[in-house]
C-alpha cells in the first residue's frame, strides 16, 4: 500500500500522544502520594514527604475497608469461576436452542450501565425486605464477574481441539478423570486469568456496591466518600497509590497468562 512518511509520522505522534494521555493520571497519583500539601492539590508540589504512608497505615477504618473488599472480591471471584466455567463448557459443547441468548444474558450486566444492575438489585432487596449484608454485596458483584471468566474460558475452549477429550475417553478415563487431567490443565491459565480480572473488577467496583452495601464500607466506597467530600486528602493520595499498585499485579499477570498461551496455541496449529 502506498503511504508517505509524513502521514506515518503524524499517525505515530497521535498514537504516542493518546498513550501518554492514558497514563498521565498514574504519574500524577505517584507524585501526589509524596506531597506535603494537606489542604489543596497544588502543583508544583510544595515539598516531598513519606510521612503520609505511616499515617495511612495507622488508620483502622482503612484496614477494615480493605479487609471487606478483599473478602468480597475473593468470594465473588470464586463464584464467578465456577459459574463462568460451567456456562462456557455448556456453550462450547452443545448447540442448543437459545445459545446466543446465554451470551447475551451474561454480557448484559456489563453492557447495561452499572447503575441499572445496582438499582435493580436495590429494588429486589427492598421488595423482599432482605437486610444489607456481606452477601448482598457478593451476589451483586458475582453477576458482572461471571462474564470475564466465561469469556476467557470459552475462548480457550474454542482454541483447544475436542480430539484430546475424545482420546482421553477412548483410553478409558471417565468424565471426571478427563476433566481433572485433560480439560482443567488445558483451561487452567485462562481460568486463572479470568479469575484475576474478575477479582480486579470486584475489588474496584463502586457503583453496584453503593446500592447493595447499606452502611458497609468497602475500600472503593471509602475512596468515593473522599471524592465527594475530601477530608483526608494526603491519606487518600496514599490509598490511591496503594490501590493502583495492588491492582496492576494481577492485571499484568492475567495479560501475560492469556497472551503466552495464545501464542502457544497458534504455533501448535
Amino acid at each position: 500500500m502506498r503511504s508517505n512518511n509524513g502521514s506515518n509520522r503524524t499517525l505515530k505522534m497521535a498514537a504516542l500522544g493518546t498513550l501518554l494521555f492514558l497514563h498521565l493520571p498514574m504519574f500524577i497519583i505517584i507524585l501526589y502520594a509524596f506531597t506535603t500539601d494537606e489542604s489543596t492539590y497544588s502543583f508544583p508540589l510544595p515539598g516531598f514527604t513519606t510521612k503520609w504512608f505511616s499515617v495511612a497505615l495507622q488508620r483502622q477504618d482503612l484496614w477494615q475497608a480493605l479487609l471487606l473488599s478483599v473478602k468480597v472480591a475473593s468470594v465473588a471471584t470464586l463464584a464467578a469461576m465456577v459459574l463462568g466455567t460451567l456456562a462456557a463448557a455448556a456453550v462450547y459443547r452443545s448447540n442448543f436452542f437459545g445459545r446466543d441468548a446465554i451470551s447475551f444474558l451474561l454480557v448484559l450486566p456489563i453492557a447495561l450501565p452499572g447503575i441499572v444492575t445496582g438499582i435493580a438489585l436495590r429494588s429486589a432487596i427492598g421488595a423482599l425486605d432482605i437486610p444489607f449484608s456481606f452477601w448482598t454485596i457478593v451476589i451483586g458483584h458475582a453477576t458482572f464477574c461471571v462474564v470475564t471468566v466465561y469469556n476467557n474460558v470459552l475462548a480457550r475452549f474454542r482454541r483447544s481441539s475436542n480430539s484430546l477429550i475424545e482420546a482421553s475417553m477412548d483410553l478409558g478415563a471417565n468424565a471426571f478423570q478427563t476433566f481433572r487431567y485433560v480439560v482443567l490443565p488445558n483451561i487452567g491459565t485462562a481460568l486463572l486469568a479470568g479469575g484475576m480480572l474478575a477479582f480486579a473488577l470486584s475489588f474496584d467496583e463502586v457503583i453496584v456496591t453503593t446500592f447493595t452495601a447499606g452502611q458497609q464500607t468497602t475500600l472503593p466506597v471509602w475512596i468515593f466518600s473522599q471524592l465527594t467530600r475530601p477530608r483526608d486528602r494526603p491519606v487518600t493520595n496514599v490509598v490511591a497509590l496503594f490501590v493502583i499498585a495492588i491492582t496492576l499485579g494481577p492485571i499484568y499477570l492475567a495479560q501475560k497468562l492469556t497472551a503466552d498461551s495464545a501464542d502457544a496455541g497458534e504455533s501448535k496449529e
Binding site: 492539590y41 456456562a87 452499572g114 447503575i115 441499572v116 436495590r122 471417565n174 475512596i223
Partner: protein
C-alpha cells in the same frame, strides 16, 4: 465403581450434562439478575407516598408522569447529549492509536501497546477519577500548564460560559466531559483495533492495485470495515456514560445527570420507584442500541 457408572450414564445422555452445566449459571442469572430487573420494572410502577414516606405497592403511572416533568426531562436529555459527545470524541481520539496498533506497529510494539491500553483500563476506575480531580483542580497541574503557555484568558472565557463553565475545570460540565472521555477511551480503542485487525491486507492491496490513492482506500475499504468496531466501542462509551454517577458527583455542578438522580432518589428520600423509573430511560435506550448494533455485526468485534 460408582463414578464410572455415573460417567457412562452422563456420556449417553448429553442433555443431562447440558442441564447440569447450564443449570447453575442460568439459574443464578435468571433469578438474581433478571429477577432484579423485573423488580426494578415493577417498582417503577409503584409510587412513594408523600405523607408516610413509604412505597405504596399499587399499580400507578404517577411515577412515570413525574419522570416527564421538565426538570427530569432535562436530566435525561443532558445525559444523552453528554453520552453522545463523549462517544464521538472517543471514536476520534481512539482511531489513530487503534489504526497504528493494527496496521503499522511491529508484533513486539503491538504487544507493548496492547498492554499500555489494558493497564489503565483495568487499573482502578475510582483512582483515575481521583487523579483527574488533582489534575483539573484550580491549583492543579493543568492550570499550571495552561498558565505556563499563557492561555489563562481563553480558559477563563470558556469557564465563564453558561452551561459548560464553572468556578474551575474540576467543578464544571467541561471537567465531567474531559474525565468521561478519558475514562472510557480504552473501551473504544480495543474494539476498533480488533476490527481493523480483521481487515485483510489483500483488500487494501487490491484497492491500491486498482488505482485508488491511500486516502481513497481508507475511505472506501478500511473505514467501512472498521465500522463494526466503532459501534462495538460506542456501546461501552455510550452505556457507561449514561449510567455513571461517580464522575458528575465528583467533578460536576448542581446540574444532575441520570446516575446522580437515581443515586439521590434511592438514597436520602428512599424514593426507589422514581429512581427505577429514571433507570428505565438508559435501559430502553441501550436495548434499542444493542439490537441495532447486533444487526450491524458489532458483537463479532467485541
Amino acid at each position: 465403581m460408582m463414578l464410572n457408572r455415573f460417567s457412562t450414564y452422563l456420556y449417553l445422555r448429553p442433555k443431562v450434562v447440558l442441564a447440569l452445566l447450564l443449570g447453575p449459571p442460568l439459574l443464578y442469572m435468571l433469578v438474581v439478575y433478571l429477577g432484579s430487573l423485573v423488580a426494578l420494572l415493577v417498582n417503577s410502577f409503584f409510587e412513594l407516598d408523600g405523607y408516610t414516606g413509604l412505597i405504596s405497592r399499587q399499580f400507578t403511572l404517577a411515577t412515570y408522569a413525574k419522570l416527564f416533568q421538565q426538570a427530569n426531562l432535562d436530566i435525561l436529555t443532558r445525559t444523552t447529549f453528554m453520552a453522545l459527545m463523549v462517544t464521538i470524541t472517543d471514536a476520534l481520539i481512539a482511531f489513530p492509536l487503534s489504526y497504528y496498533m493494527a496496521k503499522v506497529a511491529s508484533k513486539k510494539t503491538k504487544t507493548l501497546l496492547y498492554l499500555g491500553v489494558m493497564l489503565p483500563l483495568w487499573s482502578s476506575y475510582l483512582v483515575r477519577v481521583y487523579a483527574w480531580k488533582l489534575i483539573l483542580a484550580k491549583e492543579g497541574v493543568l492550570s499550571w500548564f495552561i498558565n505556563l503557555l499563557g492561555l489563562n484568558g481563553p480558559l477563563d472565557w470558556l469557564l465563564s460560559q453558561p452551561g459548560i463553565g464553572g468556578s474551575s475545570l474540576a467543578l464544571s460540565p467541561m471537567g465531567v466531559y474531559i474525565v468521561f472521555c478519558y475514562i472510557w477511551l480504552p473501551y473504544m480503542i480495543l474494539p476498533i483495533q480488533a476490527a481493523l485487525e480483521r481487515v485483510p491486507k489483500s483488500f487494501e492491496e487490491a484497492s491500491s492495485d486498482l488505482g485508488a490513492k491511500a486516502g481513497e482506500t481508507f475511505r472506501n475499504i478500511t473505514f467501512p470495515l472498521a465500522m463494526p468496531g466503532i459501534i462495538a466501542g460506542s456501546i461501552f462509551t455510550f452505556s457507561l456514560t449514561l449510567g455513571d454517577f461517580i464522575v458528575p458527583l465528583s467533578l460536576g455542578n448542581s446540574k444532575y445527570f441520570i446516575g446522580q438522580a437515581v443515586y439521590s432518589h434511592q438514597g436520602t428520600s428512599g424514593n426507589i420507584p422514581l429512581a427505577a423509573a429514571f433507570t428505565m430511560g438508559p435501559v430502553v435506550i441501550m436495548i434499542v442500541y444493542l439490537l441495532i448494533a447486533r444487526k450491524m455485526g458489532a458483537f463479532d468485534a467485541l
